[in-house]
């Protein structure tokens, strides 16, 4: 398989994730769409690593997975805290930080 196939597929998944971040209203689903975007980046990193014949891209992808896990943990903690404080679980309703 040519590397370009993988890169275009990664761009496609990234755009689906971006569309989800912009249209969905539940913060849980927004976090899921962020995962989609990070995974698309991972796929591109690994494809380029194969293209160059160097394993450093795979190490980058591993670090990206660590960062994604941290982001999930913090995001889900915030959602649970919102649920406890009876804040509506809706990103449109959360406008307190708006300037």
């Amino acid at each position: 398989m040519d590397i370009a196939w993988f890169v275009v597929l990664s761009a496609f998944i990234f755009c689906i994730g971006a569309a989800g971040v912009m249209t969905r209203r539940s913060p849980l689903v927004v976090l899921l769409c962020l995962e989609l975007m990070l995974n698309a980046g991972n796929l591109a990193l690994i494809a380029f690593s194969k293209m160059v014949g160097n394993q450093e891209g795979q190490v980058f992808a591993l670090i990206v997975m660590v960062v994604a896990a941290c982001e999930v943990v913090i995001g889900l903690g915030i959602i649970v805290a919102m649920y406890r404080r009876r804040v509506p679980i809706d990103v449109d309703a959360l406008s307190e930080l708006r300037g």
């Binding site: 689906i16 976090l31 795979q58 999930v72």
Partner: protein, 197 residues
């Protein structure tokens, strides 16, 4: 060669279908399950790119551990059926899918139009141990030692932060009555003499 192409199209279709399911399904629980399917398809693609260790880590860590966390939180918060209404959130919401489509076109043009001639090939010649756990571990412990340690600190901070965020904060609403030694020593309130009248 033919088998490889077949596998790519099956896994690629699965990845795109899983991604679309995450965005389009209304129940967050089904979105999480769709993301699991997407991640497993991506692991197959990683195997095609000879990244065996990352494929295993993707299945075990991502599709296993992280998604279990998601399922727990969805079950705790309650999968509220929300309607997908991209048009209701004003100009930004209606422009969202349009913007994503423009981003896709731009990225595709950037990939196809780039002068990277290596994109049209199978990639460089690699050995049999490319992407094996041993090689990745050696890179992590020699060349990338500092990012490796930074990642472990990041995980520690995230774990502590999640505990701090999600614990019960009763102290904010009603400050707890703290009993100090000074209260017991005072003789004017709360003593037996006062209770006896």
């Amino acid at each position: 060669m033919l088998f490889e192409q077949f596998l790519f199209f099956v896994a690629g279709f699965g990845a795109v279908a899983g991604a679309l399911g995450v965005v389009l399904l209304r129940n967050p629980f089904f979105s999480v399950l769709s993301l699991v399917a997407h991640l497993i398809s991506l692991a197959v693609l990683f195997l095609l790119l000879s990244a065996a260790f990352l494929a295993a880590a993707q299945v075990v860590v991502y599709a296993g551990a992280v998604m279990v966390l998601y399922v727990f939180v969805v079950a705790y918060v309650g999968g509220t059926e929300e309607d997908v209404r991209p048009l209701a959130t004003g100009a930004v919401g209606s422009l969202g899918p349009l913007f994503a489509g423009a981003l896709l076109i731009e990225l595709t043009i950037a990939v196809i139009g780039s002068s990277l001639s290596a994109l049209d090939g199978e990639g460089a010649d690699i050995g049999a141990s490319f992407g094996s756990p041993g090689e990745i571990g050696q890179l992590l412990l020699t060349k990338f030692l500092l990012p490796f340690e930074a990642a472990s600190f990041l995980l520690l901070i995230a774990a502590v932060g999640a505990v701090v965020l999600a614990r019960k904060r009763r102290g904010l609403e009603e400050p707890e009555q703290a009993i100090s030694v000074a209260d017991l020593m005072r003789s004017d309130v709360g003593t037996q003499k006062e209770a006896a009248g």
